[in-house]
């Protein structure tokens, strides 16, 4: 892969905020944020091939732990987010341990992840200490030491750093031994094990790493939205948001989630505001569902290989 076009694009994104309005800043922040979450999912779902439909659980745990530590103990989210991410990683380890030790594959693993996310949602919903159904609200102080910023551009840059960082992690992972093992396991687990790969350990590592990164994303989400509700943070819709970007962009590729987020996040925002205006509150999820169907049927590898082919033929033509 050539790096200079990517570096150029990154520099352009870094230089962009002064030239765009506040709505565009929000839009790009969401693009980066969902690309980040998709990238975190990509490690487990794309490279290791273990389809998780419950990644919202890790977002929720990361968000709730960070927020509770900040509200009750006074711990700054700059440190709290790592505690939250560690808690999410622990849940990732539990789900991974149970799922892989008991050999759950395909549908069974999907169901396990959904069930865990739903259990988390119901527990948060019924725990008054974390606000129950009302949720938690964070008072805005604008104090950067508390991960709060007057200027929305701060969130833009943090989200950009998150997306870039996760992409570098995934790119390095792909080059690493573990990454090669994961791909081998995804393609043929028995053959990989016959070659001496400890599939259980590799998949568990992927699950923990994926959950940890997703937990960091949860902390960002909490202190970007300033409110936490169990049904939004642990719910199936968020899990779908996380899955669909890497699937559309190309799961198991380092740029797939980013590409998917650049395609889908603006579409989601536009259709959300359009459908909200017409009173069709579920409209954007119909768009998602149709896209998911279309991608599975017509572009099963996602958009990334397609774009790469286009780029290659463009270079050849010159």
């Amino acid at each position: 892969m050539r790096l200079w076009p990517l570096a150029l694009a990154l520099a352009a994104l870094a230089a962009l905020p002064p030239f765009i309005g506040s709505y565009a800043v929000t839009l790009f922040t969401l693009i980066f944020f969902y690309a980040y979450l998709g990238q975190a999912w990509n490690i487990l779902g794309g490279y290791a091939g273990q389809l998780s439909a419950g990644h919202a659980a890790f977002v929720g745990i990361g968000a709730y732990v960070t927020a509770v530590l900040s509200l009750r103990v006074g711990l700054t989210p700059w440190i709290g987010m790592f505690v939250g991410a560690a808690a999410a990683a622990l849940l990732g380890a539990i789900i991974g341990y149970l799922g892989f030790r008991f050999g759950l594959r395909g549908f069974y693993f999907v169901l396990l992840t959904v069930a865990f996310a739903e259990v988390c949602r119901i527990i948060a919903l019924n725990t008054e200490a974390v606000g129950g159904a009302v949720g938690l609200y964070i008072t805005f102080t604008g104090n950067p030491a508390q991960f709060q910023f007057q200027n929305p551009r701060a969130y833009y840059y943090i989200a950009l750093v998150l997306m870039t960082g996760a992409t570098v992690v995934v790119w390095r992972l792909e080059q690493s031994r573990l990454g090669a093992y994961l791909v081998a396991i995804r393609e043929d687990e028995q053959a990989a094990e016959a070659l001496g790969i400890d599939a259980f350990r590799c998949k568990l590592l992927a699950s923990v790493l994926s959950a940890f990164l997703t937990g960091i994303g949860g902390a960002f989400y909490a202190f970007y939205q300033f409110s936490l509700q169990p049904s939004t943070l642990f719910g199936i819709p968020l899990s779908v948001e996380i899955i669909i970007r890497p699937i559309v962009g190309g799961a198991g590729t380092p740029l797939g989630p980013v590409l998917g987020s650049f395609i889908l996040s603006p579409l989601a925002e536009l259709s959300r505001s359009y459908f909200a205006a017409t009173g069709w509150s579920g409209g954007h999820l119909i768009v998602y569902g149709s896209l998911l169907i279309a991608v599975v049927l017509f572009l099963p590898q996602g958009a990334a290989p397609f774009v790469a082919r286009l780029a290659r033929s463009w270079r050849m033509a010159r």
């Binding site: 439909a53 069974y108 396990l112 069709w280 579920g282 169907i293």
Partner: protein
């Protein structure tokens, strides 16, 4: 606790069991024949409920008369889903089929949300308020009729599978699609019919509970999980669960049960065949 109260709860739960079995039979048929897990099962049930609602409000048709129409509509939906969508990727990895079914579930659930709105609905039926006393226990007639009809439909399905040519070729295609094709079965068409029947089962179940079960588009996911649970544990846990637990705790128990069963009895899923 009052013994009569417990017996009453058990009776009501038992009567709900007919619906549960109809949902589960539909899911099992689809999985058993095609090895496809219908993630949209609960959402198809929701459409059965709303079709019963439409028939009742627009045409004044009682759900107990209109449920065959709901089942027919869901048959058409299931047939088209299999014929046009699932058949294309029937040989693809399971992940792809799961994603496809998730997409279909999203479209169905949110389609219902757009068309019918988020408010809970209930369908009126002429049976809804009548009760029969059985000693100290009362029996809700609507629940009793639902139970009997659901049981009859389940029985009809078994007759169809074991006594008709189409049913036999369906079992043949489930057993060995290649062999079935060799002896001249149009396997893809049989698949489409099987999905249609599975969807019709859950659509009928939806129409039959609509008179005494308030519903909204979001109940689909819960219904899917309930179907998975029933198929996985054979209805054992869901009945007392449905009777004694508060809704939220019930959900918690049902998902926790799902996790435990997944871990400890995966071979028992769907008649012992692990994908």
């Amino acid at each position: 606790m009052d013994l009569v109260l417990i017996a009453q709860g058990l009776l009501n739960g038992l009567l709900f069991g007919g619906v549960y079995s109809l949902m589960a039979v539909g899911l099992t048929l689809i999985f058993g024949v095609m090895r496809v897990v219908n993630f949209a099962h609960g959402d198809m049930m929701v459409w059965g409920m709303y079709l019963a609602f439409l028939l009742a409000t627009r045409l004044g048709l009682d759900p107990y008369a209109g449920f065959p129409l709901c089942a027919a509509a869901l048959f058409a939906l299931g047939f088209v889903v299999q014929r046009r969508l699932v058949n294309r990727i029937i040989d693809a990895p399971h992940e792809m089929q799961i994603l496809l079914m998730l997409g279909i579930a999203l479209v169905l659930e949110n389609g219902a949300l757009v068309v019918f709105g988020p408010d809970p609905r209930r369908v009126k039926s002429f049976l809804a308020l009548s009760t029969v006393w059985l000693g100290p226990l009362f029996v809700d007639v609507a629940r009793l009729v639902t139970f009997l009809l659901a049981g009859a439909l389940t029985g009809l399905l078994y007759l169809f599978l074991f006594r008709t040519d189409l049913g036999r070729s369906m079992r043949a295609a489930a057993d060995n699609p290649y062999g079935a094709a060799v002896i001249g079965t149009d396997v893809r068409r049989v698949y489409a019919v099987a999905f249609g029947i599975g969807a019709a089962c859950v659509g009928a179940a939806g129409a039959l509970v609509a008179p005494f079960y308030p519903f909204q588009p979001s109940v689909g996911l819960g219904a899917s999980v309930t179907s998975f649970n029933i198929v996985i544990i054979g209805g054992m846990g869901s009945l007392p669960g449905a009777v004694f637990l508060s809704p939220s705790l019930k959900e918690l128990v049902s998902f926790s049960l799902l996790i435990l069963i997944l871990l400890f009895r995966p071979a028992g899923l769907f008649g012992g065949k692990v994908a």
